[in-house]
């Protein structure tokens, strides 16, 4: 259909003009988070990454913006749309995947678990405090010997009078050492999976930080060690006793990753584009060479395509029609695409591409974690494969 609308000017940062698909409120939220990331994260995150730390103030600042549990409703939570939440993840991850992980784990894993499966008392006690950043949460599902197959978990919960006694070890737990509460999934004596809120300071519970990571360094990753930890029955989620509990939470967080990955990719693309226009080699800017242009064109293509996928899934989520398998496809495609974009950006920056002076190798390394957590690329491939064929190829 022909129209008389005047085409707008092409924006290299938004090639397909996806912005036009967002409403004013979505843009306002996006712009605020973008400004925050530009002013508070980007200038410092290289140093945080190098030192392997996240400053405590950052948590308070993120809470001040109201981002923790932003897409949940009730209990004083903002109830923003899924698209607004996705845009937030994208902007945060344009700063660093670690910062986005902090917000994802707090909102989509720990808060969502309580919001969806918790008792009324648990919700009243924790959700407002977590939104304000007064309480930080973590989510303990993975174990040293149970990652992609969480059903094989060994952490146990044994009934003892009115309480439960928890034993086991969780591994790779984001926010673990800074958390005031841990959502821990454990197997009860009847073989079922139950969720418990384990509070900091409960005797027998510790959360030592895992060191020596070369990815997601601006994020705290920990072990959760549970040795005869006595947890009262009121800390158990009453509404769920199967793997569907943790899986529902992961589906929430994964949705944020579908967006977040595009943020990391965009940051690398913009860095590479700027660099290519300025870097003179063989007497002209490398942006003028066909090989570089091909790289930039492919990167832009991938980012625009991925962002459209994210937005489509977001609209479906807001409609209530989003299926977990569709989130799997989104995570699978977008994280793979983003990692490819970051690696290509790295090559454009030459030697400078391997330093923390530029964001690219940091993003590139971070995305290795993103490729693996919240269901590995392979696992999502198998989810999509099963949905296509009806054949389960997991085991």
């Amino acid at each position: 259909m022909a129209t008389t609308a005047k085409p707008t000017e092409l924006d290299p940062r938004d090639f397909l003009a996806i912005d036009a698909l967002l409403d004013d409120e979505e843009k306002a939220i996006r712009d605020t988070v973008r400004r925050f990331v530009r002013e508070r994260v980007v200038p410092n995150v290289g140093e945080w990454f190098e030192r392997g730390e996240v400053p405590r103030e950052l948590t308070q600042e993120l809470a001040g913006l109201g981002l923790f549990g932003m897409h949940l409703e009730g209990y004083g939570l903002p109830g923003a749309s899924s698209v607004a939440y996705g845009l937030t993840c994208m902007e945060l991850e344009a700063g660093d995947s670690g910062v986005r992980s902090l917000v994802s784990v707090q909102g989509s894993l720990a808060m969502f678990a309580i919001w969806r499966w918790g008792s009324e008392e648990q919700k009243q006690r924790w959700l407002p405090a977590m939104h304000e950043g007064e309480a930080i949460g973590c989510f303990g599902l993975t174990e040293p010997d149970a990652g992609s197959d969480p059903g094989s978990m060994r952490t146990t919960a044994r009934r003892d009078g009115a309480d439960w006694i928890l034993n086991g070890t969780k591994m790779w737990i984001t926010n673990g050492s800074i958390a005031d509460l841990a959502v821990v999934w454990a197997r009860t004596e009847d073989g079922k999976i139950n969720g418990f809120i384990v509070e900091k300071g409960m005797p027998g519970f510790s959360a030592p930080e895992m060191k020596h990571k070369l990815s997601l360094r601006a994020s705290v990753t920990s072990e959760l060690v549970l040795k005869d930890v006595r947890v009262p029955e009121e800390n158990r989620f009453p509404e769920i006793s199967s793997l569907r509990g943790p899986l529902s939470c992961l589906n929430e967080a994964r949705y944020g990753i579908v967006w977040g990955a595009e943020g990391a990719a965009r940051a690398c693309f913009e860095s590479a584009l700027e660099y290519a226009k300025e870097r003179i080699v063989f007497g002209k800017p490398i942006a003028g060479y066909q090989l570089t242009q091909q790289k930039l064109a492919e990167m832009a293509l991938e980012i625009n395509r991925g962002t459209l996928v994210a937005l489509h899934l977001g609209r479906k989520k807001d409609d209530g029609t989003l299926l977990p398998e569709q989130v799997s496809m989104g995570k699978m495609g977008n994280v793979r695409g983003a990692i490819e974009v970051c690696r290509t950006a790295r090559t454009i920056l030459g030697g400078n591409g391997i330093t923390l002076e530029y964001p690219v190798i940091r993003h590139m390394n971070n995305l290795e974690s993103v490729l693996t957590y919240e269901g590995t690329h392979e696992v999502h491939t198998l989810v999509v494969g099963e949905a296509l064929t009806g054949e389960n190829a997991f085991r």
Binding site: A28, I29, T32, G64, L65, G66, L67
Partner: protein, 258 residues
């Protein structure tokens, strides 16, 4: 206490375009809240927070799209917005604009009117003086500190050599410097709540301002011609490898500037 904050919607980004037809700034693209005005909004919110019971109303004269800039101020925490929008206002210089703004402020009857130091598009830094003159109110500009107590304000006015400390009776007008504070980030709830706050749009007729007194007819200035500044062809970029200062001195000496 009622505090009015005057804010302007300016074209987003750093590269401004002039329309050769109208000889006016091209305002067709995306707009943003003038960042100097964000300092004024922030200061109003701080005064409100310390006073306890104050109303902050943001006021703008501009095209319909200026409602976006007002909404940003509402998202930061302002209580109410007033936009004066009328096709006849287009092309007003500061004399004509001050007439419209003064009429709107008269209607509001605020105890304190705040401005940012300048608009980032026209860089006039004088509208507040014209408005103060029309309203016959005391004016403090370049305020780097501001407090209000017992019907008067106290401001530290930044000067080249230090500060003037000025006291003035309310109602009064203050143009704050951009050093006065660090504007807050609007919170998510602030953004989501902004559209539910009262937002009023008025025409010149509503304010009783005569159409002939605004726009080009009501303006004292006329733009004959404009041209872009010549490109800085002979600029040189010095990467600091520890010797940048030396190189700069050398360069200035070469040009006989030192």
């Amino acid at each position: 206490m009622k505090i009015a904050v005057c804010v302007k919607q300016v074209p987003e980004g750093t590269s401004l375009k002039l329309d050769p037809g109208t000889k006016r700034l091209d305002r067709s693209g995306e707009g943003a809240l003038n960042h100097f005005d964000a300092n004024a909004v922030e200061e109003a919110l701080r005064l409100k927070e310390s006073a306890g019971d104050a109303e902050v109303v943001v006021v703008s004269v501009g095209p319909a799209g200026a409602a976006d800039a007002l909404r940003k101020a509402l998202a930061m925490g302002a209580d109410r917005a007033l936009l004066v929008s009328d096709d006849a206002v287009a092309g007003s210089d500061l004399v004509a604009t001050s007439r419209v703004l003064a009429a709107a402020l008269e209607r509001e009857g605020a105890d304190l009117v705040l401005f940012g130091q300048q608009a980032s598009d026209s860089d006039g830094a004088v509208l507040w003086a014209a408005v103060a003159d029309r309203l016959r109110r005391p004016l403090v500009s370049q305020a780097a500190e501001l407090s209000v107590a017992d019907g008067s304000l106290r401001a530290k006015r930044q000067t080249e050599f230090g500060y003037d400390v000025i006291q003035a009776a309310l109602p009064a007008i203050v143009a704050v410097s951009d050093a006065i504070n660090e504007p807050r980030y609007p919170s998510l709830k602030g953004i989501m709540g902004a559209k539910k706050k009262p937002q009023e749009t008025l025409t010149l007729g509503d304010l009783g301002v005569d159409v002939g007194q605004v726009g080009e007819a009501g303006s004292k200035t006329e733009v004959y011609e404009f041209s872009l500044p010549p490109s800085r062809g002979d600029s040189r970029k010095i990467e600091d490898d520890g010797k940048a200062a030396e190189q700069i001195v050398e360069f200035l000496a070469e040009k006989r500037l030192v």
